[in-house]
Point group: D3
């Protein structure tokens, strides 16, 4: 009978999951989810349902989101040109306005609305709130024999006030964090969401930092999706980068991962949002599905 | 591949269980487990693993245990006669000593030791601790045309001080409760474990009272194990008793169930410890496996 | 000497303000500021400096902002048509997206950034956060002899969970509230900011609800700015409306004021953001500058 | 008149006791009482009345009890042989069952029942509860030229989690501690009650550790009860042992005393439960009745 | 041997006192001590040593003191005339200054200094502190056919803010209260210390109000010290007054006693400071030494 | 119109004062006010109104008062001779009684009464309360070739228990401190109020110690009131003293200032109570009116 098999499934799974629940209950996980995931209602729901299960079993989740594709889209709709120098985006005034509306407005609210539906009590917050992130504008980059390159309203983090987040977690609320930040004079600054997630994870002494991306994890060969590395340490990751094996999009992630581990986060996971249930599998099974980075495999 | 199917099982089960976890997290369940279950290391472990999973997902479990078979066995080993009048056990002085050693010593400690192994932080407690249960000795029963019948050191509950249990629960500890109690002069008194569990459930305003027994639940026909009643209300249960359909062992349970519901426990479950995973199935599936008793089906 | 006169000014003013500080310290003020004020950096700074002074002297300010003009502007930039039926805006899907980006993104962030500069520890929050505002979509309005009129994603408030705000206030943080809300299924809904401010003020049992508008207050004659009413009660306000003396823009405000007072807010002030220092003058001088509405002048 | 003399007695005694009450109020005393004391209702009551007075004047008492004689008696009643090797008891499986029933069941409950009568709010607890005592089974002792000697289910303490006791004390409850403990796999282990009391006293930073025994204290000459030593330090106690002056039963006590002082308990008292009021006299008079051991008389 | 008898005394007394300690621990006693007791170092010390014992055993004592004789003495030293009208003292400006210096300065400080010596952590406080006592000046008394009689700076109590005292008690401090009070404009007012003690006892819901006086208690015959009444109720006390059996000095005390009982203090004791140990005997023996007044003997 | 100018004044002053309020809110200021200020109702009110404003804007004020002139006056009224040796007052027994009545009685009460009127919730306290100040009597001073000089009941501070004050401040109460103290045997001792204020400021880690005196501040030339020094450091102050430029009355103040700074108070202000609004001007304007002493101008 189908019924009985289903029941057996529930019970067996609870038994399987219980040791992980015991292990992780009350621990802080910082989860960074790229903007592309929230571009689509179905993938949004898929990831948030998994987040909801982490929340229900007692894990203290801090969700940091990006918003790149949506910013590009809105800029286009408004007829703005996105300038790039040497392949890096320049955040001028109008671009910053776009990022503000997309990150703090569109995406943050969308995530909160799904949380309302899933009965996860969540609060939106950005680096601009209270003193969560204090940053300064990145000075123009000097290039030998060229004019200085100013990437615009882009910030580098000075301090993270983890207390703002800790109070929400202690109240049973899940913070949904937009990476937008500002300096002490109130100038809003854009900061890479991976960087913000890594800094928050370090400050909260998180058990895990999990980066949900479009790739299955870190690849030995950037062109071969089958070459997934399951387990690697900082030195190994650095060597991959030095040897040119990391995809361009992975480079800032690699720097964020390295910083998080250097500042005390013991496990960083890179998983693919495209693989079904990847977040649950990563947390609740021994093998996981993506890449686990630690300080030193030894 | 086996592996992948297993993983799918974990994930699917977590999704299935999550709404129940959300529903029950932080709620109090009083679970009464009969002594026969603890007579055997295997059944002890089976029930306690299920209890551990309830604990891990955040349910506040209070475990009340019995100890009848073990008392009978120890009495026999010590060469004591167990007296019965009209089929009811008489608790004389030596019997009370035996009950004390078995309930507060042997069984309570055995349960706590298994909890240590399963990493459930549990504390033993009995009705004698602080003011948990204040009782008085049941007066001899007057029978027309016969000598009064004195059942010995048997108590009736005056008050339950739920605060003693609440403090343990608030500290994240699981109380393992022996039903032995005493009066204000320190005379130890034996009280039926179902009665104690019902009184504690009422005082703690428990979400559920669950009685784990040797029977599959309440039967329409006491002689037909297939005649299980899944869902019944107080009036129905009373009628069953009045009509003589309840087994002798079920009569005191029926009284305890009735009292618990009358005092505010909205759901009482009767399950069989012999059916595998019955506790988890009862809590985490819609259908359950035993009998659910409510106030009024309406 | 200029210096000495200036010093005398400081001292005399402190003495003048002290009784008001004593009176209001620790009290909750809900301040609603229309979107038009935040359209301009100078008026934004002007109002926020005054808010900062309220915060510094110990008043617990909850700031609710609107965003109408900015929404209109962004809709125009995106080439969207704003539909009106009988002069009321219809919030279709694209309009709701615009409102989300403007209210929760652009304006809320702008206010927080100014707070960072003014060293007011503020946190952004919207009706979508946790369970702050639970609303339902307003059903289509039936009009005799016409097709039903559906105003789109517009909500009516079911409940306000003031606890979310109270915790922020207790932590010394100033909530900056966007009126955007949602229903239990996560459908985002637009709600009039005056209505939201009134509901929050009632739920927090605020000492004062202050509405900062473009008008100097409530006018006896909507066409004569000199006809300001300094002091009026609910009956008076209702009569003004019934007699057609209230400007169109004032009608929903009048309803919000009436509801706030009916639900226990004892004083509602309407002031003009265009009059210099109007907020400070209203709070710290006896005469104020706008209109004070109370339950019953008697 | 008798009456007046009695009243004078009360008053004079209160004055005499007050400085000691001031000195000890809120301080932790760990009191170890041997099982022989609880063999008899009269001596049980005598010691517990004194404990009750310590509790009433505000001393935080932790009572650790033994149970040797009762275990021997129950073993005999059950027809079990108690094996000894080189004069030391071997705890095999049945012996452990007996110890469990006697320590955690019979004696602990008996003490709690007397506490109920004396209105001392007490809770029973053993090393098996939560993580109070984490121990490991003592490995077989290797003897040159002989087979290894295995003393059975006997434990050595790894850690004491004093928090479990501290929470009870903070709630105004008196812990009554059975020395039975277990390892991390849930194997129950017997541990000497003096050793447990000393470890708990050290972990709680107790003001005093008091050992109530059958002897009047430590004797200079084990055969001469008149040779009581009132005051001695660790070096002196060790020398007594080295010189063979300590009775066999005193040797493990001496080791426990030495360990307690080494770990920070500044005063250890050995008193006789046979001397009337010895506990009160030891605490509330300057001279005491037994032996006081300190770190270094200097 | 003297020594052994003394020890027996300590022990027997502790046993005798323990039930009273259990009964009164944590309860509030308001003790009013007349100024004449503090006129002399020996009687001061005698009463305060008894107070210290109450404090040490855990009773929450609030001590209210008078200061009449000292005021008279200082007035005389300063050459002031004390005016009386119809036998009642008139408190003019200079008299009030004298009372202020004596009550809040001399006596309050003297009591606190003795507390320092006795290691009772005490804090001085008067009705003028924070909002402890809010009073108004008693209006001139109109007498038929005579000029109004103004008793000067004499107050009648409007409210007592017991919180000020409760916070001290919760911090383990003993409040030493001077009855001097003031009105809302800061005019200092003298109030009878018995009246203040009764009002404080009522507001604190004190277990006992104890008045230490020069008389042995309430006498049936004001001229016969042997006619002490041990036990009386409100009706009896009122009748004694109506029948003219109360001494003049006892009349305001009788009114204060009546008010205290009417407002919820269940036991009021009148004792003599001249009888040795009267305070301890009253609290710690069944018979006491003075008069106990209750609501209704029935 | 006068009205409008007045309103402008309020607003401009609030703006001016706000940054100082933000700076000082929640900080501890210890203010020492000499007895001469309280000799007169008008100057008392003037200073206390300023204190009230500090309190209202959220500064935690501890007020320490002297009482020299009043003691002299009362001694004279009582016909006591004030003895001086080498110009320093000798505090014999009667002088100590006078100081007690004046400091703890007259002045402390007068300040509290004014606080009642100004609605500042204040509590009186002296060094004798609980363990606020533990001092010892200053030993007789040995002078070469002369008899020892005993200044009588004069104390030197051993310890300050700041907790007593901190609890009042945490409860929102303003402590009004009399410098009278005592030793552990309860002997009352007089201590210079500047010394007490400096010790309390150090122990509370006060933001500021402010001494309100009759002089405008520290003068370069003790005879030239125009030679006010606005800003000086410890070395400069010591040099002034060494060079004989400090007035006699300023010498103990200079020692207290030096000690306060040495023990961690970063800013000490000396202001004149005679200059109108000097306290407010010192705190709320950049220039202040008196002398600011810091550790090292550098």
């Amino acid at each position: 009978m189908t019924l009985n098999r289903d029941r057996a499934v529930v019970v067996s799974a609870l038994k399987h999951a219980a040791p992980y629940i015991r292990l992780f209950k009350g621990k802080v996980f910082v989860l960074k989810v790229g903007g592309e995931i929230f571009a689509d209602a179905a993938t949004t729901r898929t990831i948030m349902e998994q987040v909801g299960i982490l929340y229900q079993v007692g894990i203290k989740v801090v969700l940091v989101h990006g918003g790149g594709p949506q910013s590009t889209e809105l800029a286009k709709a408004l007829g703005l040109d996105t300038k790039f120098i040497d392949g890096r985006r320049v955040t001028d005034g109008p671009s910053l306005d776009v990022a503000t509306m997309v990150l703090n407005g569109q995406i943050n609210t969308r995530v909160l609305a799904v949380c309302r539906d899933l009965e996860i009590p969540a609060v939106g917050i950005s680096g601009v709130d209270a003193g969560l992130i204090r940053a300064h504008r990145r000075p123009p980059v000097q290039k030998a024999g060229q004019a200085d390159v100013d990437y615009g309203f882009v910030g580098d983090i000075d301090t993270v006030d983890a207390d703002v987040l800790r109070k929400q977690l202690d109240n049973g609320l899940m913070p949904v964090v937009s990476p937008l930040s500002c300096d002490s004079a109130g100038t809003v600054l854009n900061i890479n969401a991976d960087t913000v997630a890594a800094a928050i994870a370090a400050e909260l002494k998180a058990e895990k930092l999990i980066l949900a991306t479009g790739a299955p994890g870190i690849l030995k060969d950037r062109n071969d999706p089958q070459s997934l590395i399951s387990y690697i340490d900082r030195a190994g990751l650095r060597k991959l980068g030095d040897d040119g094996h990391l995809a361009d999009g992975m480079l800032p992630k690699a720097a964020a991962i390295d910083a998080a581990i250097a500042n005390g986060v013991s496990r960083v996971h890179i998983i693919s949002y495209k693989m079904p249930d990847s977040l649950l599998l990563e947390v609740f099974t021994n093998e996981g599905t993506g890449t686990l980075v630690v300080d030193d495999i030894g």
